[in-house]
Symmetry: C2
Subunit: 216 residues, 2 copies
């Protein structure tokens, strides 16, 4: 049954503000220490739960990491992976890499580990027979939904991927069928920027190929 009358209309003003949000989103690594207001994190996770998922499997699983001991394990995990990554570069590149701030793990008031359940009952396998990685991809859609909702609420989010993901799962004692997709830092940003930190610090310029689409 079509429900035309329920169809929302997104006018030019909303579309333009949405573009502004996409342009401004940023990966935030410099957080103020103040807590998020009560209920905000739960609201953001609730919005993430609206993300698209393969076969309606909703395979995302969120773990809020609060214990200082566990946060220290994550920080050590990051620092070890980051030291190994640094060793891959040499000369000026290594010096530049060493100066980059690549996580807000020491300051962010909230940290979320986001896993994909690789054996969900929901969805009954639909849509993932030839592309099982769509479970992780659905989880990424939830992360990205959370990211945009957070930014619209003035909250910064940084995605840390310089980690041993299996060790995160082990240290957080989650189910063996959960696979880490993202480790997120959240909090109010210290600064706002309209350019990415990696561009601002000379690591990588953005490409602006706006309509770089092959045709077949």
């Amino acid at each position: 049954m079509a429900k035309e009358s329920l169809s929302p209309r997104f006018d030019a003003e909303f579309q333009s503000k949405l573009e502004e949000l996409l342009f401004w989103r940023r990966d935030v690594r410099r957080f103020r220490r103040e807590s998020l207001p009560d209920g905000l994190l739960a609201r953001l996770v609730g919005l993430a739960n609206l993300a698209p998922s393969v076969g309606l499997s909703q395979p995302w699983r969120f773990v809020r990491v609060v214990s200082p001991e566990r946060r220290l394990l994550v920080l050590e995990n990051f620092e070890a992976a980051n030291a190994e990554a640094l060793a891959d570069y040499s000369g000026g590149k290594a010096a530049l890499y060493a100066r980059l701030k690549l996580s807000g793990l020491r300051e962010a008031p909230e940290q979320l580990a986001v896993f994909a359940e690789l054996a969900p009952a929901a969805g009954q396998g639909l849509g993932r027979r030839t592309m099982p990685e769509t479970l992780q991809y659905s989880t990424v859609c939830a992360v990205h939904t959370l990211w945009l909702a957070a930014r619209a609420a003035g909250v910064g989010l940084g995605w840390v991927s310089i980690l041993d993901p299996a060790r995160i799962a082990q240290d957080l004692q989650v189910s063996e069928s959960w696979s880490l997709v993202a480790y997120l830092c959240l909090g109010y940003p210290q600064e706002e920027h309209d350019d990415p930190e990696l561009e601002r610090h000379g690591w990588q310029a953005r490409s602006h190929r706006h309509a770089d689409v092959l045709t077949r």
Copy 2:
């Protein structure tokens, strides 16, 4: 340099409209045949290019599939994968699966294959040493950005994953370092719904666990 003065403000009205968009997004499989207006697809791809990416690698690669011969190969690919998927179910489940409409490949006026470049020069490896799958995850962020921007512009999008992804890459003759992440159908929807098609047809109900977050 902080640019506080440039910081956009997203007010309660925008946040509420954004929630409406997230709630309403849908995976669309029933398209009207009319073309999209000139320039709209390029605009949407331009917005997708604003998505977050690991190390600013921007690894997404879009292929617009227009040739009837190539579209037929994709349709045949889907139909073969879908027949194999159907064979995994039995009884009432198989009958229900067979009745589901799982792609808009026959009607959608636009089709985009979205690949991840697995050996991008951009980003110089940053952030993906221990989690190389972040290249595909970045590409998913671009797909999801495109999806939200399309819906805000009144355009429907459906993600087809019932496909042999390697055969798509082969049939579209793309670089060997490109890996298929998503095959998308786009066009104006025939109907608008506030519930997912898989839920409406009795395949899978949504979970509404709004704040289902483990604490560690």
